[in-house]
Assembly symmetry: C2
Homo-oligomer: 546 residues x 2
């Protein structure tokens, strides 16, 4: 019998992101830039971790859970509970650095198989305990918050022991995984077959495949590889009402697509116990390149036309002027080979412009041909290729954002992101409306934005907000800004979330997103699959009106 797995290399640090050694601290030029832009800060956050509220797990529940998975796979120690006490949103990080007491799950249970997941659910139904399915814990929308709902206790159902690559079909190019496999491990397992999933969200180093499915994740290369929900061709969900196995054949017209109900179900309808995904052969070549546009409008037009003409890169990210300016300032040189690069850009009229990163993956000849086709469209809109050093720099740091966030947090800043998608016709209006909304609540903030996922009819917008933190009311400071931004999204016809999912933070916006009748449909499905309501209370589906 293996020892209980309480931590893994892929685990988040108890109060922040991953390996603390990866933090670099803010360089002096960044500190200077931020002080100039955002004003002075007087950071007062405790380092954390906070004290936890004591476990309130009734003995009969503990006994039932131990029966379900074995004694060693039911954990009630504070280290285990803290690790599942919060996701990693800005508000989560504030909580994790408070003095507490912090609400945490009353126990952590680690099933090793789908039947054990079923046994855990049965035990929780029988004893009346809420269950929060837990993958990598990287939710930034409150998706893993340990809310008990109307139940006296709540357990975290951590899927890490279900970490196998179950099956590879090299002919159909699909792979079946258990849900607890993390991104790097999935790639390592597939690499043995010369295959890749190609799904690289910023949370890649920690997030799990079950979590990708449950939240409809999108990766940095999803323009080329597809969103995670587009990669899934089969899924198994263990629900309190039984197992649901979906995905026959290759495509179907057998009624509504129930797989689409499992994807994005956020642990509210069931627990993902298996996911079959499309995979691809590992590309021989990956080429990432920096490209400048004179204006946001020209850059957006280039992205749109590349996608509509089916010659888009696999990675296509376009920063708006404020993000471009801030990134170059925070990076010091901007990766443009120093003074010479900057002079070239200025001379050609790109000062105040927009930096894009384009990436192509595939065979050498394929990448060359596709790059030529992409840049041919981009050049119609004044694209100026600044070379692979910018692209390589982006690739090298593509998972570092959360570490920078911790440095900023320590330095007294509010730092958070939010994202959406809009049709190309409304992209500008949404971009402007969200900026205005955020700046109405945070007048001195830097609001940065990039387009990072392309569709024929629209694109995503990813906003990053930086401001001096209001240490008296840091939660309210952000919530007011976030509410204003969400209202702007609804008003402009954009979606409330493109890839962060709903959790607690977007839950009450779901009525605007799918209408009151859409919410009723979700409630009906929930009542069928989870009749007693033990699964992830308080997430995704708005409460009934009082």
């Amino acid at each position: 019998m293996p020892a209980p797995l309480t931590t893994l290399p892929a685990d988040l640090s108890p109060t922040g992101w991953g390996d603390p050694a990866r933090r670099t601290g803010l360089p002096p030029h960044a500190t200077g830039f931020l002080r100039e832009e955002l004003g002075a800060t007087v950071p007062t956050l405790p380092a954390g971790p906070p004290a936890l509220t004591p476990s309130a797990l009734p003995d009969e529940v503990a006994a039932a859970l131990r029966d379900a998975v074995g004694d060693e796979h039911v954990l009630v120690d504070d280290d285990a509970r803290l690790l599942r006490a919060a996701g990693r949103s800005y508000l989560d990080l504030l909580r994790l650095r408070s003095s507490g007491p912090l609400d945490a799950p009353d126990a952590v249970v680690l099933p090793g198989s789908a039947p054990e997941v079923a046994a855990v659910l049965r035990a929780c139904i029988d004893t009346g305990v809420a269950v929060v399915p837990f993958g990598g814990g990287t939710s930034v929308v409150g998706g893993v918050s340990p809310l008990p709902g109307r139940f006296p206790a709540v357990v975290s159902l951590d899927l890490r022991r279900m970490d196998r690559l179950v099956r590879v079909d090299e002919h159909a190019l699909t792979a079946t995984f258990e849900p607890g496999v993390r991104g790097p491990e999935a790639e390592r397992l597939l690499a043995a077959y010369g295959l890749t999933l190609g799904h690289f969200p910023q949370s890649y180093e920690h997030a799990s495949l079950g979590g990708y499915a449950a939240t409809r994740s999108a990766g940095q290369a999803s323009t080329g590889y597809g969103r995670f929900d587009e990669l899934v061709v089969g899924i198994e969900l263990q629900t309190p009402a039984g197992a649901l196995g979906l995905g026959r054949g290759a495509a179907t017209a057998a009624g509504p697509d129930l797989m689409a109900l499992a994807l994005g179900s956020e642990g509210v309808l069931g627990v993902v116990t298996s996911v079959t995904v499309k995979v691809r052969r590992v590309p021989a070549v990956k080429r990432y390149e920096g490209v400048f546009f004179r204006t946001w409008q020209e850059g957006c037009a280039a992205l749109r036309e590349m996608e509509q003409e089916r010659v888009a890169p696999d990675v296509a990210r376009l920063s708006d002027p404020d993000e471009t300016r801030s990134h170059l300032a925070l990076a010091g040189t901007g990766g443009l080979k120093g003074r010479v690069g900057r002079l070239v850009l200025r001379a050609r009229g790109y000062r105040g412009g927009c930096l894009a990163v384009f990436g192509w993956e595939g065979t050498e000849s394929g990448v060359a041909a596709r790059r030529k086709a992409s840049l041919s469209v981009a050049s119609r809109h004044g694209a100026f290729v600044v070379g692979t050093s910018v692209g390589d720099r982006w690739e090298h740091g593509r998972y570092d954002g959360p570490y920078l966030r911790e440095d900023l947090l320590d330095a007294g800043y509010l730092v958070e992101t939010l994202e959406t998608s809009a049709t190309w016709s409304r992209l500008d209006a949404t971009h402007e409306a969200v900026r205005r909304a955020l700046q109405s609540e945070l007048p001195r903030a830097i609001v940065m934005c990039h387009v990072s996922h392309l569709y024929a009819h629209g694109g995503s917008l990813y906003f990053t907000v930086l401001a001096a933190r209001d240490e008296d009311d840091p939660v309210g400071q952000w919530q007011r800004a976030k509410d204003a931004a969400c209202a702007a999204l609804v008003a402009t016809g954009a979606t409330i979330t493109h890839h962060h999912a709903v959790g607690t933070d977007h839950r009450d916006w779901m009525t605007a997103e799918v209408g009151p009748l859409g919410v009723e449909v979700l409630r009906a499905v929930k009542a069928t699959l989870d009749p007693t309501g033990i699964l992830n209370p308080g997430k995704l589906i708005p409460d009934l009106e009082p």
Copy 2:
């Protein structure tokens, strides 16, 4: 006030397909081939149309419907009722050529707007009448059969008056249509903007866009353009419980995709009142070409690799040896430029091989480049290009299949199709199992098959069955064969339907397709959106066990 629209150029003929003038009759060589293969027939089918059962529309229902849509849009005459009495499956055609009496809707109601659809539903709820939403009437799975369920009467809700192109977004390349627009009219309306939907199922000349959405249609060019469910980016559904409007932004992670519940809902959950679809610029060039493979396995491998290497044609259809042989025999020359072409093929070892049609659409240079890439892969598997005459011949006759079917029906044959999809790993096994199943019930049948829709992980299989009709029990003869084929699909992990949908004919196979719990979910959604169960009773969702 315009006159009531009882017929349109796009209407089906009362007992068959479209314009009777398009029927050519079976040429002598075809007649000879069929007699040799299938044996002699003694056709005894009446020409139809049959007598209809009398309309049983209660007066109060008629009054309520007239209130909802105006007197002139409620039709109770037999011509109007006959036109909505059946779809166009083989069994439907047998019914339409019986002496009757044939069940028909008790009335036909023609709403002109979403509010009028709502008013019709309200009237039907209030008076307790079943409603069958009706688009083009081309269902081949019983989707429009006028079943009253537990209600005393049933009305056909024909959407033909809702035939507008509501909005074109030339920037996002989307178009919003009312549901009653038929395929050719949609293309005509879009052509004014230089745009195309690119959705060309065999039913194209008659089927409606609302029907495409409600049945998850796939077109002949869906390998390139995408299935209809992939083209839809917004949908409005009028349900008995209210309106459901879905599709914000460009892509979303806001919970489960409820749009995927509306797509494929087959009039059971609501009435599609608006659909917003991706469109493309009209291609400058369309090139269709015939390609021969020595074996089915080589042809399938070529299709698979083209798709997995992302160089598939927009149209890719591969006939198995029996379909190739039969098509060439029925066509007389096979379009291979006569004797010389046949000699060439035989000499090179393609006798007994498989004919494919590949099609590329786009700019001249784009088509040339993509054709080269496709054929480069195909040539690895021994592809022999026989030229555009075969391709052009296919394109010219692409909507003629249903006319040939009528000629075959008149000549005493059973002729029906069924279709599925399977992963590439299971495609051969499914192909073989379905052939065996059909031939176990119809020992002397010709069973033809082609792959016609490609996905990275699999493809569709479309079977056509020809046999001498058993005039004593034509219905039972086909039903036994169909049941055997469906059982084979389930046993090999294939889907029960790739693009024909569920209707009545596949309804009881849905439990195998999505599991008993999946059926429960569909029932729960139905109960929420259609609490009294007036919408399309007897379709899609299996009845509760007695």
